[in-house]
């Protein structure tokens, strides 16, 4: 099963390589990994998406917890949570296709963030399935290149990851 794991870490040099190194050394799979400071200067938040049976996911969580700078690990898939990912896609869009591209962009509530006479760049946000669906429609029109941020996620409700 696919799991979204949120990891709160000390914001210090080398944390990301510890996490990435752990996955590489133990052969755990990473579908996506995002990391950025959590807003308080001292911590960063890593969101990992991984695929594996329950035993593997259990080991992943335990191994992450074992890393010294890791403060807390939560498997968000265990409860209600919100997932978001951002994608930038560059599509060829000439003459009659231009309207079609804009229509698709509109359906997915995405924005055009760059345009040339024969292309658009579209910014789409949503969970992975929404991005996939959008991409399916754009592909036949000619996707030049694209980039996705990987999932970020938070649990629903009024509680934070660590109880204060």
């Amino acid at each position: 099963m696919r799991h979204v794991i949120s990891v709160l870490v000390e914001n210090e040099a080398g944390v990301l390589s510890r996490v990435a190194g752990l996955f590489a050394a133990r052969g755990f799979n990473i579908e996506s990994l995002t990391v950025a400071p959590a807003g308080d200067e001292q911590t960063s938040r890593i969101t990992l998406v991984s695929e594996g049976d329950d035993e593997i996911i259990e080991q992943i969580i335990k191994q992450l917890n074992k890393l010294i700078p890791v403060i807390h690990v939560v498997d968000l898939t265990e409860g209600a949570h919100v997932e978001r990912e951002l994608m930038l896609v560059k599509v060829t869009a000439e003459k009659e296709v231009r309207a079609e591209v804009l229509r698709i962009a509109d359906i997915f509530r995405s924005r055009v963030v760059d345009a040339t006479p024969n292309s658009f760049m579209i910014e789409v946000t949503g969970d992975a399935t929404k991005l996939d669906a959008c991409l399916e429609l754009l592909k036949p029109l000619g996707v030049i290149e694209l980039v996705r941020t990987g999932q970020v996620a938070l649990s629903r409700g009024n509680r934070g990851m660590i109880k204060n």
């Binding site: 000390e10 390589s17 259990e58 335990k62 074992k66 010294i68």
Partner: protein, 564 residues
């Protein structure tokens, strides 16, 4: 008080209780060496190779339970230390290794003797630090020692750029607990789980206790002994756990695993409850995993959650320090009067006796040729089972585990997890530095001893008299054994057809060399070696093609042991 970084390091070491450092100097640690020069309270032992220094610190840690300390230079010093770090990491040995580094603003420039030490040591240490500011130095060192010795212990590297060791900063002596918010090992067992465990123990009619290195690391031998005797249950130790329970006690059925005893492996295969304590279900122990303890419920006590249900699914996990958890269980067992509530264990013990009757550790000492097992038995007899014994890796290591009984913890030093040939001599040296009044034996092979033989010079320079018994079979014996059994006797490059004259070699270093080629020479050689107040190399010319039995072939189940 304003001090240089180097002085802060030395001060911190003193404040942390360090009295011995094993090291090797070089450009980037010269400031530190200068500070050591001015600090007579710290004894620095100049090893002959950085690997030797780290193994020596490891041996020191294994016999004392304290954090061993090694000091090496940047680049090649650090890379030479790697094997030592990986060895300690696999066996969870508390060490701090201080490595020199190029100055901060040269890091990343391929500077002279630069290596990405933090990068290369990440996966073979418990943790590592690069200190970029002298103001962090004292705190990082305290954290490094704290991390090395608490929780599941392990080696910690502190990488020290040269300019940081020259910069000046105030040093304030700090006492008390180190607090790291992201690092809080669970040490007390969950009391509900402990209660459940006790209930399971009192229901079992075929219990089996299986303990490992965690008992030694936790200094929990007294609690384990109490626990085992309260239950009257059979107990086996892993290679790393030897000495956790008295080997001469009738409840002890020997080591388990690939070269464990028949009775231990059969008991594990037939028990209805397996209590794993501070052991990690290594593949050398479990054999074919699907047939490991097939009819048993498993309780697992370990301080490291990642050890639990990693290889074998357990029914009742208890995360905590074994010393505490055993204490908790003993209290309940005592309160309830364990033996009154247990099923009768006699049928179980009768069955175990029938396995014991196979005498799986048998060998025959013939008239003309020394059997390696005989050497170890004689060593055992002449040291009254009382020596600290270090080994290298190979057949001699297994025979030492089988034929030298340990009644106390921290008398047995062996590289189990990584299986590092070359571990033995420096480890024995480190042990002797820590315990100068004890006899320290090294049991080694003609292959392994050559991997760190240069440390004989260290032993002689610092008068660290270790007694070295080489079971010289002219082979990389363990490799040869596998080739005999699994490759139809094709001895591809396991024959060490040429070896040095170990007697002369010993003498060249200033040690004493002795040789025994016939069985009747074994005892006099050992007696003489034990009397001499110097490092002694005993070259025992043993039977070339003896095999270690019993043996579970790799991938087979424990009850498919090959007996002699």
């Amino acid at each position: 008080m304003e001090l240089t970084g180097a002085e802060i390091i030395v001060r911190s070491l003193l404040d942390l209780g360090v009295r011995h450092v094993f090291g090797y100097p070089g450009g980037s640690v010269l400031h530190i060496y200068d500070a050591i020069f001015k600090t007579p309270e710290i004894q620095h032992i100049l090893c002959r190779h950085e690997q030797g220094a780290v193994h020596a610190a490891d041996g020191y840690a294994r016999v004392t339970g304290e954090v061993g300390v090694a000091l090496v230079t940047s680049g090649p010093g650090a890379t030479n230390a790697l094997t030592g770090l990986a060895t300690a990491n696999m066996d969870s040995i508390p060490l701090v290794c201080l490595t020199g580094q190029v100055p901060v603003d040269l890091i990343g420039n391929d500077a002279f003797q630069e290596a990405d030490t933090v990068g290369i040591t990440r996966s073979c240490t418990k943790h590592n630090f690069l200190v970029r500011h002298v103001s962090d130095l004292a705190r990082v060192l305290r954290e490094a020692f704290h991390i090395a010795r608490t929780g599941r212990p392990g080696p910690v590297v502190v990488d020290l750029p040269k300019d940081v060791t020259a910069a000046r900063c105030d040093y304030v002596h700090t006492d008390g607990e180190v607090k790291i918010r992201s690092y809080n090992p669970t040490v007390v067992g969950n009391s509900r789980q402990v209660k459940k465990a006790v209930a399971m123990l009192l229901e079992s009619s075929r219990p089996m206790i299986y303990t490992g290195g965690g008992v030694i690391l936790a200094n929990a031998a007294p609690e384990l002994t109490r626990f085992t005797r309260l239950l009257g249950a059979p107990i086996t130790n892993t290679l790393m756990g030897l000495g956790g329970f008295p080997a001469t006690d009738p409840l002890f059925v020997g080591m388990l695993g690939m070269h464990g005893t028949y009775e231990a492996n059969m008991a594990v295969s037939h028990c209805d409850l397996l209590v794993a304590i501070g052991a990690r279900f290594d593949d050398r122990v479990t054999g074919k995993i699907s047939q490991f303890a097939p009819g048993a419920k498993i309780i697992h006590v370990d301080i490291d959650p990642t050890s639990i249900s990693k290889n074998v699914k357990v029914h009742l996990p208890i995360v905590g320090d074994v010393k505490n958890v055993l204490g908790q269980m003993n209290a309940l067992l005592e309160a309830q009067g364990a033996k009154d509530h247990q099923p009768d264990l006699k049928p179980w013990w009768d069955q175990i006796q029938s396995w014991r009757d196979k005498h799986c550790l048998n060998y025959t000492q013939k008239q003309d040729c020394i059997q390696p097992q005989f050497v170890i038995e004689t060593l055992n007899r002449l040291t009254q089972s009382g020596a600290i014994v270090a080994t290298d890796v190979g057949q001699h290591q297994m025979w030492a585990a089988q034929f030298y009984p340990f009644d106390r913890p921290r008398y047995w030093l062996t590289s189990g997890g990584l299986g590092t040939m070359g571990y033995g001599l420096p480890a024995a040296m480190g042990a002797k530095v820590a315990r100068p009044n004890e006899t320290v034996l090294l049991i080694t092979g003609d292959g392994s001893i050559q991997m760190n033989i240069q440390e004989l010079a260290t032993c002689c320079q610092f008068h660290i008299p270790v007694k070295i018994a080489i079971l010289n079979n002219n082979y990389l014996g363990m490799v040869r054994q596998w080739q005999e059994i699994f490759y139809e006797g094709r001895y591809s490059h396991s024959h060490m057809a040429f070896g040095p004259d170990f007697v002369k070699l010993a003498e060249a270093y200033g040690a004493v060399g002795l040789r025994a080629t016939r069985p009747e020479e074994v005892e006099p050689v050992i007696k003489k070696a034990l009397e001499i107040d110097n490092t002694v190399v005993m070259d025992f010319r043993v039977a070339e093609e003896s095999n270690v039995y019993p043996m579970v072939p790799a991938g087979k189940a424990l009850n498919e042991m090959i007996l002699l």
